[in-house]
């Protein structure tokens, strides 16, 4: 059982100016699920790229079944039985499921006719194995995200993979889909496939993995040790070199400050029903829920991007009709930090100053006929400095910044716009733990010093409990209730989960903490 099937020994790799990996080891047992963990930039992706033949190591060797591996490209790794499911989707959208699965094997016979019927039949075998009930002739762009994920796994398996690397396979899955995926992975493991599992979600890793390798700054923080006996704190300690803690901030009472944003019985075209929500000035309200609970959609409805069917929105106590995002920003001073900063939050190929300035062009342009870089700079620079964006110059392209700094730029953009209400959607996705802690301080400070009302959307429970003054729980496009944050992880997380799984028919009750009258009113 504990036979080592694959070993990466003493792997080193440098890129110009960076030592990405230094003498890293990883050994993979036959029929096991091996976690590969580390913060962003710790070297996980580099190691995966070396194992799958995309990069070549400077030193060290890869051994498969005690044979030395020489990989000259992804094709070599594939032919040796090393499959990978990359983090981003790698399917051809309009091609059928079966054609996507067998795309690799088409390469060898470029001139022979494709026999689609035979291909569909062959695909059926893999789909059955993964319990994926779709017609192999369906174009993949008709599938759900989870189904696409399974198609990619089928694709990797169809190449007779003995070793299968999964890079953040659950990042875009709902918890139900994740469960399905895990049962598939268990079955694969039991049939003798060795899996490497990369994830930022430690709960998942603990649930599914037998062994763990942790990388920190390009070196092994631990090397293929059994998962047994490690708890969450131990793993975090390995990853960041110290333990993660929920900072000991004082709870703040915001029940007396003015109401900045209030939703009354709001129904939206995207499916929300009777949503009531209140955010006071200088208050951080957390909006917690599972993926698909309708939180981002609610944010977009507030911003005027999705239509509100009935109910009212009040900003600073007076009714607001927000028909588009420009309205939200200019008239009502509501800003939105997108969960998808690369696609929606920032213009990656523009400089910092252009990205932050985008919200103030209009405002500055009215006062002066010409927009010069200097006027923008004068306006923008204080915020960049305040957020301590690490950059040699404001003209640096946002593309070249780290994830954490990019996130700071997307927050700075709204500070510059002088928003009174800021909706922050999943601020720490793809950001390492150190930057995350800093970002948390920043958000907290924003509420304290600038009086900004903050609506925080997050699926990260520790983050929620760290930041929020009050947590509103959503499920299935409805508000299930809200809880004042006591900052005690155990009781809070239990209370939140109880709210999520509560049946709609049940009477709302405020669990745990001393109920505050005006919070209850929001129910």
């Amino acid at each position: 059982m504990n036979k080592v099937i694959f070993r990466a020994a003493d792997i080193s790799k440098s890129f110009p100016g960076v030592k990405a990996l230094q003498q890293v080891n990883l050994s993979l047992n036959h029929g096991s699920i091996h976690a590969l963990l580390g913060e962003n930039g710790a070297g996980k992706s580099t190691l995966i790229k070396i194992i799958t033949g995309i990069h070549r190591q400077d030193h060290g060797k890869l051994m498969l079944d005690d044979q030395l591996l020489q990989l000259h490209g992804p094709h070599d790794a594939i032919s040796q039985g090393i499959g990978v499911v990359h983090q981003e989707r790698n399917l051809i959208p309009r091609f059928s499921v079966s054609e996507n699965i067998f795309l690799e094997s088409l390469g060898n016979k470029g001139q022979t006719r494709i026999d689609y019927r035979a291909m569909h039949e062959k695909a059926r075998v893999w789909l059955d194995m993964l319990a994926l009930d779709v017609d192999p002739a369906t174009p993949v762009n008709r599938l759900s995200v989870a189904q696409m994920q399974l198609v990619e796994i089928a694709k990797a398996l169809s190449l007779k993979s003995k070793v299968l690397l999964l890079d953040e396979p659950t990042a875009s899955l709902t918890s139900h889909e994740t469960d399905t995926l895990f049962s598939v992975l268990h079955r694969l493991r039991d049939s003798g496939v060795s899996l490497v599992f990369v994830s930022h979600k430690l709960e998942e890793v603990q649930e599914i993995c037998d062994q763990v390798t942790v990388l920190r700054d390009g070196v092994n923080a631990c090397e293929s040790r059994p998962m047994q006996g490690l708890d969450r704190q131990d793993i975090v300690k390995l990853m960041i070199g110290r333990s993660e803690q929920i900072p000991d901030w004082a709870a703040r009472a915001r029940s007396t400050s003015g109401i900045a944003l209030e939703l009354q019985d709001v129904c939206t075209s995207s499916g929300h029903r009777d949503v009531n929500l209140q955010v006071r000035r200088a208050e951080i309200v957390g909006l917690y829920g599972l993926v698909g609970a309708g939180r981002t959609e609610l944010a977009k409805a507030i911003l005027g991007k999705d239509r509100i069917v009935s109910g009212t929105i009040e900003v600073d106590g007076s009714p607001a009709t927000i028909s588009n995002v420009a309205d939200a920003v200019e008239k009502y001073h509501i800003g939105y930090v997108s969960e998808d900063r690369k696609q929606e939050g920032l213009i990656l190929m523009h400089s910092i100053i252009e990205n932050v300035g985008i919200t103030v062009w209009q405002q500055l342009g009215k006062a002066r006929a010409f927009l010069t870089n200097r006027t923008i700079r004068e306006h923008v620079e204080p915020y960049i400095n305040k957020l301590e964006v690490k950059t040699p110059s404001l003209n640096q392209y946002v593309n070249n910044l780290s994830g954490g700094n990019q996130q700071k730029v997307s927050v700075a953009k709204w500070l510059a716009a002088g928003v009174h209400v800021l909706i922050i959607d999943e601020p720490s996705v793809g950001i390492d733990i150190k930057t995350k802690a800093y970002l948390h301080e920043l958000i907290r400070e924003l509420a304290d010093t600038e009086d900004t009302a903050i609506l925080l959307i997050s699926s990260d429970m520790p983050e929620m409990i760290t930041l929020a003054d009050r947590i509103v729980v959503m499920n299935d496009f409805q508000v299930m209730g809200d809880i004042v944050n006591t900052r005690d992880y155990a009781t809070m997380s239990e209370a939140i989960m109880n709210l999520i799984h509560r049946k709609q028919a049940d009477k709302p009750t405020t669990p745990q903490t001393t109920p505050q009258p005006d919070n209850r009113a929001a129910l």
Binding site: P74, L91, R94, E99, L103, Q111, T112, S144
Partner: protein, 327 residues
């Protein structure tokens, strides 16, 4: 039955087919001479050449790029073909073969630059458009070659069976070959795969460079073929051949449901797109509308087609959502 109908409604060729049939019915009702053998022959001649022009752009749209130089390649091949015959007295089949090689090479060069530099095909083909057109004008000094062999003239203007002109033969063959290539052969699937998701295609072991070069070479070959066919039809080696191809070359594939970002085209749809454009052009002539208005109509047709494609996309997304909500 309903499902079958739904499938047709979702396919790219169904809408254009309905429009084609409706247009033919309507026009021949107003003007019976529309379906006269002579008029059918004129229509088919226009369709035969324009279809090849549209295909040469379609192949590039399939990889998610643009080829602005289709007309310039067509023109260069046309004057090469007629020049080989007039100046060097080369027999026409050999001259045709050599001229087609010129087209293939021109396309290959486009592909090579795009694949090797990674610069967008728009810019590369804008530059080669100028180069190929410049070569054309430099060689001809803007005067046509007049000495075209009688056989070539006959092939371009006579019928092999009434009322089918000889020129439809290459178009029929090319149509079938392209369909087979893009739907049944791995090489063609690679072209669509690269257009659909270049990154994924590369990670699946497909050589993106080779695929891009192949597509451009095919495009150059087809543009050249259209050029040769036009020489036969016009009975003269005009240096201006190809100057007015660009709009049509995009219009027909788009009417046929092609996605300009790549990965999805329809050979049948493109052919029907050409037919629709040809019919509309004819109708404007039959009803004595100013021929310059044809341009306006073509532009409107493109807008209508992209609008329709967008609508279908939105609808498909919505029905996906409903499926998701139901599950």
């Amino acid at each position: 039955m309903k499902r079958q109908l739904n499938r047709y409604l979702q396919s790219d060729w169904f809408g254009p087919l309905l429009i084609t049939i409706a247009a033919i019915a309507l026009v021949s009702w107003f003007n019976p001479s529309f379906l006269s053998p002579f008029n059918i022959q004129i229509l088919l001649l226009a369709i035969a050449v324009n279809a090849i022009i549209a295909y040469s752009q379609m192949v590039i749209i399939a990889i998610g790029q643009m080829n602005l130089s289709v007309g310039a390649i067509g023109g260069l091949v046309a004057i090469s073909f007629s020049g080989f015959m007039e100046v060097w007295s080369i027999p026409w089949p050999v001259a045709a073969f050599m001229a087609l090689s010129v087209g293939l090479t021109a396309g290959y060069i486009n592909g090579l630059f795009v694949a090797m530099t990674g610069i967008s095909a728009f810019i590369i083909t804008l530059a080669t458009l100028s180069i190929y057109k410049g070569l054309n004008l430099g060689i001809t000094e803007a005067t046509p070659f007049y000495k075209i062999p009688e056989t070539v003239k006959a092939l371009g203007n006579s019928n092999f069976i009434e009322p089918l002109p000889w020129l439809v033969l290459p178009t029929i063959i090319v149509t079938f070959c392209l369909w087979y290539l893009l739907n049944r052969l791995p090489v063609g699937r690679f072209i669509l795969a690269v257009g659909g998701n270049e990154h994924a295609a590369e990670l699946s072991g497909i050589s993106v460079r080779k695929t891009i070069i192949t597509a451009h070479a095919i495009s150059g070959f087809l543009a050249g073929l259209a050029g040769i066919m036009l020489v036969a039809r016009l009975q003269i080696g005009q240096p201006t051949i190809g100057d007015d191809w660009l709009i049509l070359s995009f219009a027909a594939p788009v009417i046929g449901g092609a996605v300009l970002t790549g990965g999805h085209i329809s050979v049948a749809g493109t052919l029907l797109g050409v037919v629709i454009v040809a019919i509309i052009t004819q109708v404007l002539v039959l009803f004595n509308v100013d021929p310059f208005l044809v341009q306006v109509v073509l532009g409107l047709l493109i807008l209508w087609a992209v609008g329709l494609n967008k609508l279908r996309e939105v609808r498909a997304a919505r029905s996906m959502d409903e499926l998701g909500a139901g599950a």
